[in-house]
Symmetry: D2
Subunit: 145 residues, 4 copies
Amino acid sequence: MGKIGHKTEIRVIYADTDAMSVVYHSNYFKWFEVGRTELLRSIGFPYSRLEQEGVRLPVIECGCKYIKPAVYDDLLAITTVIKEVKAASFVIEYEICRKDTGERLVTGFTRHAVTNHDLKPLRFKAAAPELYNLLFNNDESRSPE
Amino acid sequence: MGKIGHKTEIRVIYADTDAMSVVYHSNYFKWFEVGRTELLRSIGFPYSRLEQEGVRLPVIECGCKYIKPAVYDDLLAITTVIKEVKAASFVIEYEICRKDTGERLVTGFTRHAVTNHDLKPLRFKAAAPELYNLLFNNDESRSPE
Amino acid sequence: MGKIGHKTEIRVIYADTDAMSVVYHSNYFKWFEVGRTELLRSIGFPYSRLEQEGVRLPVIECGCKYIKPAVYDDLLAITTVIKEVKAASFVIEYEICRKDTGERLVTGFTRHAVTNHDLKPLRFKAAAPELYNLLFNNDESRSPE
Amino acid sequence: MGKIGHKTEIRVIYADTDAMSVVYHSNYFKWFEVGRTELLRSIGFPYSRLEQEGVRLPVIECGCKYIKPAVYDDLLAITTVIKEVKAASFVIEYEICRKDTGERLVTGFTRHAVTNHDLKPLRFKAAAPELYNLLFNNDESRSPE
């Protein structure tokens, strides 16, 4: 795991579930958004501030593996970690566990471009230098392991 | 029923259902949107064209009554009717039935303001005169019954 | 306002918004669910426990009025109050305000039936006597005003 | 591309979009569900029939790459193809294009387990022999290329 990470929690409601009595698979991506939003806020770069500075971080790729299903009223812990900080993109990894038992339910990732308001690509370092430096300097995935 | 109406269909998917094995109640409002979008298209005023002309029709009130639940894979018929065309707002009524049996599942409505891009209220007749005239002249709910 | 009420909070994410740059109108109904779930938990009747006892509380009617839009990253306060406790149904009222300014954004309600697992109606008092008594005895909407 | 494929269409509504004025990334997974549901129906194995036979096909992994954004009112073509048919799982691949221009917007996949009603894994061939044979015998991804 890289150094820049964050933990937050969400509670499963009926709206999140489907007729298989488990959380519908695409809803975990919304919780990944909660995870990265709170991570950015926790390191001093709330996404709403990036927006005001004309920067967007659209998802250009995502994926998720489902290990065990979450069900109604589960309290879930979302762990969010920054990875692969590059010139024009970066990756965020997520792990969602059941809070009480610690069981791992899903793992996933999102890859983000750095763009302007019209979704045109920007150089990350030029567009948001402080954020870039913070993420890049703490990206352990750069190092040999 | 007023004169300006439209029928369209949708198919229930797992994403629409919840752990009670029925459609989650708020999802019918999405299908109401499908109904009014296709109604507007059918009378020659696709919403995307209204948008280009600087007009928005935000929902300012809505309601729904649930008679019988829709379930996974149901084919649903959405009937959409324009009502109560006023100076700065109008109402759209909806009925959703199971296509094969004709059973009525839900009835509902949305009330819309007429606004500009920044959601500031506009006079309907001035902002979209052609649409206003078409709806107003065919609004049977104006008449005594 | 009745005596049985609860306050909780949610944060608006991108998934909740639409291309008008405001929260999509039907998403408030999901937050109403958060409100009533936490209210029931706070008075000792978590919905998951009612489920285990074979009781369901499906929404049979709902409505919402939109006063001002919520936008991305708003922190919202949801106030939830029980009303109109009857033999086979009850009403829950909601108010959602912006946390920092206190501005009221939406008001709404849901009406619930009391049913078994197969959504067959039950007498509230017989099906869940403790919850019924607690709600009924604290329902100020019964009293003349 | 394998031999077993299907094309269907969907129309983007406001509910699908977000405040970046494009479709929210996780909503494409709902359209992947539409694609595979209609593919299964088209080859004579509607998912609702599999359910009645006690078989479920839960998503155990998924992924999506975003090439260009879809926007409000776009008419989208979903192409769905079966791949990697194995003893206890298979893969479905998707491509979503703008109908009018043919531009490719996203590509993605879902990997499915074959399980019983309680989500316990089953041998695909034993649980749904007709479907297994049909998919397996037409899975070109088995062949060397």
